[in-house]
Subunit: 236 residues, 2 copies
Amino acid sequence: MDAGASSARRDAAAGRARDSPRRAAGRPPQAVLSKAQITRAALKLIEADGYKGLTMSALAKRLGVAPSALYNHVAAKQDVLVLLEDHLMAMVDVSGFDGGQWEPGVRRWAWSYRDVFARHTPLIPVIAVLPVTNAPQTVAMYEAVTAGFLADGWPRDRIVDAIVALESFIFGSAFDVIAPPDIFETGGLAASAPEFSAAVADRWGEGETSRSDSAFGIGLDALISGLSARRASGGF
Amino acid sequence: MDAGASSARRDAAAGRARDSPRRAAGRPPQAVLSKAQITRAALKLIEADGYKGLTMSALAKRLGVAPSALYNHVAAKQDVLVLLEDHLMAMVDVSGFDGGQWEPGVRRWAWSYRDVFARHTPLIPVIAVLPVTNAPQTVAMYEAVTAGFLADGWPRDRIVDAIVALESFIFGSAFDVIAPPDIFETGGLAASAPEFSAAVADRWGEGETSRSDSAFGIGLDALISGLSARRASGGF
DNA sequence: TTCACGAAATGAACGCCATTCATTTAGTGA
DNA sequence: TCACTAAATGAATGGCGTTCATTTCGTGAA
């Protein structure tokens, strides 16, 4: 092996793109790309620059490859987003259901779900609309949650609706996390909205917990107690 | 007046672009554009083609204007989205609070809010993050809702959090409306997720109400009962 | 009345983006 | 051995949002 090849291997191990020596055209001796590598590179790119930095060119450059090479592994950029989504779903914490108690399980799941996607809000419009087929980690997450509901005695035919309701709240709340702190400052419009402005000014506890955390906590408590009350009363 | 001018006036009245006779360069005798006209044209464009059809070029063409002319009235495309957002906020039904009863007010508000933005989900990432300053209709909506909460005796310092919790649920649910009906079909992954697949198959009442409507109804009931229970018990 | 200035239009760019296609090379199964 | 397919390059495409020099019109101050 020559020096060029060895430095290339070092760069590849570090996830960096090979810089100087352009690869010749034609299929390379050993595959340079894979879906897993594309996913990893996309994540790194997002960590560094946010979703505005996630372009097919940037992705290709980071992988040391021409942009068109990516299309041998994904049909479109949308596919990259799907890869990301499924990867992130595996990071949602469903371990809270292991204890056999529904409420702590839901609580831990919901907080972690929100936290994961608050840093990936551009994926939410994709997830919310994407069929789960071919998203194995996503299905695994739903399976664990469903099992947690069943273990608590939930009627099978109501579980999906309950999960969807919680999930909708979680997605919406993820957006709220990235809202600026002054989002409700009425500014010049204060005079036209005295009650609302007062409510914004009086808002309680701007101490340790953030605005979005406190709203999420209140809503999650309400959802959990509302759902379990309905179940207990036979509303389902 | 000549025939050209009169046909131009007719076209302008119908909101259509003047087609053939290109306007000469330079400031026209009477203004061709305004924020209100831009907003109307954008709405028409979205009705016809969806948000993918909302481009600055298409907007300009519909207004019978060069694309660059738009930038005399908005600083960027984002501003067009803000104009749309504020316009749509005025269509959210807050009349339910007029009766002086909190629960029916919240219910009507929430359903109408969701319905309006289910057809405009691309705006949600914008709204959720946008300061309300300079969005008068948006502030007016919040003012009406706040008044409804106050009339019910809610403590002022808890109202914003409650509204945000409800709103997060509403935004998330708006995405759910546009999800395909088979979004939870596990397909080839069914074997790996038996409980979830069964729950999806057993889902109740696919009769009159849609999947997303039933999930929204369940979640909204839970939120409303959970929130008012906490308020009644002095949790706030 | 004049005239400088700002507002509002045109049209020609610009850079970026996702994607496609012809081409080349390497591995694979018949 | 050889046809076929997979996986890379590199050039090209069309569309996007946006900018800028230029032109024209309206307006308020001198």
